[in-house]
Symmetry: C2
Subunit: 302 residues, 2 copies
């Protein structure tokens, strides 16, 4: 029987599950349990970082690393660092000061489970831990590689990346953006971290610039496709499927609000085709799952 068109292929599904379990183990080992007085902070970090989720970003890191034959143990540390950053951004995003979301991945969001102060601090600590993990010699023996990973991640998630995109998102609640500004916002908000995840394997594997650029192009298009489908899911899903409040973007500038559902879906399809085409420079066997992943982004339900 052919797989449902809206689900990941069995092979991709299996690979993503395996990746999630292994990366979760790495994440868990980097957040050891503690009986210190401040254990609540560690508990909150674990809750934020191990609370479920598909682990799309770690999967991109692991598959990008596979393209260049990078040791999986090292790649998993980078995957964990990327996930720490993603989870910190969700924790801060959900705070009353920002989106005030009570639900995340079908469970109480971090500040509902603990409290606002703990969620704020756990986010801060996760971001810091990401850089600490990357700076550790266990991630790579060459300090040049480690510092390049750090520079790339910081550039992707700071004022010119994710955080700048979140600022744009807030501004977009009160002011209508054109498609160009929405594209820039989404590229900053989610695209740059996704690009880092795909590129990290090339950095770890000291890939040649052309190969690195191909993966970056793949990531760029995939990231935008991801965001367009995210906007579509927000208007098309129900809360049970998505595990977080839906129609949150009602007043926000999104691709769907700017170009309508039909055009948004066409655009997502085009972006996915384009992202896959960037992978043609690689051996088919090394990028098959990255291609499947691109198709899945288009067809996912959550």
């Amino acid at each position: 029987m052919a797989p449902s068109p809206r689900e990941a292929s069995p092979k991709l599904s299996q690979a993503m599950d395996d990746c999630r379990d292994r990366v979760n183990k790495t994440i868990s080992s980097l957040l050891p349990p503690t009986d210190l007085v401040e254990a609540k902070l560690f508990d909150a970090m674990r809750y934020a970082a191990l609370g479920g989720g598909k682990r799309l970003r770690p999967f991109m890191v692991m598959e990008g690393a596979r393209v260049f034959g990078v040791d999986a143990g090292r790649a998993r540390r980078v995957a964990a660092a990327a996930e720490f950053v993603h989870c910190y951004s969700l924790a801060h995003d959900d705070l009353p000061a920002m989106d005030n979301s009570d639900l995340r991945r079908g469970k109480p969001s971090l500040h509902k489970q603990y409290d606002d102060a703990t969620a704020l601090l756990a986010g801060d600590a996760l971001l810091t831990l990401a850089f600490e993990v990357l700076a550790d010699p266990e991630t790579h023996e060459d300090p040049r590689v480690r510092v390049e990973l750090i520079a790339s991640l910081a550039g992707a998630v700071g004022m010119h990346g994710m955080v700048g995109g979140q600022m744009l998102d807030l501004i977009g609640e009160k002011q209508e953006f054109d498609v160009g500004t929405i594209s820039r916002m989404q590229r900053m908000k989610t695209g740059k971290l996704i690009a880092f995840c795909c590129e990290a394997g090339a950095i770890l594997g000291k890939a040649n610039p052309a190969h690195r650029q191909s993966l970056r192009n793949y990531a760029h298009d995939l990231g935008l496709a991801f965001q367009v489908t995210d906007d579509l899911l927000d208007v098309e899903s129900n809360v049970h499927e998505l595990g977080k409040p839906v129609n949150q973007d009602g007043k926000k500038s999104t691709f769907v609000s700017a170009m309508g559902r039909e055009q948004a879906r066409t655009r997502a399809q085009m972006l996915v085709d384009q992202s896959i085409s960037h992978l043609r420079v690689f051996d088919e066997g090394r990028v098959d799952l990255l291609k499947d992943l691109a198709r899945y982004v288009l067809e996912r339900r959550v």
Copy 2:
């Protein structure tokens, strides 16, 4: 006329002012003005990072660097990074979720000047920028040095450092700590970042381990002295002198609440003497201002 016993010596005072002005220029150059839609984020970062303050931490970086003959331009980048981290922690600390402080350095705190969401994001961006600045080759040509700075800073300000200390601080509002736990909390909350600042020059200058340890010991004792005098100032000052709300620590576990004002002052004096004694391995001419700084920490009004 002899200087007032509660003020910095003219020489120290002049050196601190010069350092502040130069580091402020570096900070300003790292936060360029922008006409982008998200300029509010950059403005808020500038407000948080250039809103006054004595620049004690940058001064420690610069003086520590001077001990080892490190280029001042490089040291200033590290000084700026340390100040970014300090300012991010103040911005998040002042949020309603944490201390809910309306005043900082005699002016509206960041979230009062902007809004909670912007203050949260500006803090996140400042923390990220600190690591980005350290990872940049302009900070040092040797990636080994850059990655060591990053690892040290991340270790100092994450879950086992500053953020962990802030968690302890929150817990200490509801639970009485003994002097041992208060010491650990303060070492984490402020001591470790101060130690990083003092040690950074040794990392930049590739100092031998013994010299590095001496500076670390100086910083350790100075950091604790700083915290004890901070607790004393909180009960002894008025809001006009301190530029932030006083007696905020009323219900918190502090050195003063644990050992009383008299014993706290004696302890601060002892720690300052001890910190100065660690500097005896260096040429007098290179550490004179670090010694003056230690005495100033004891005698400061703000």
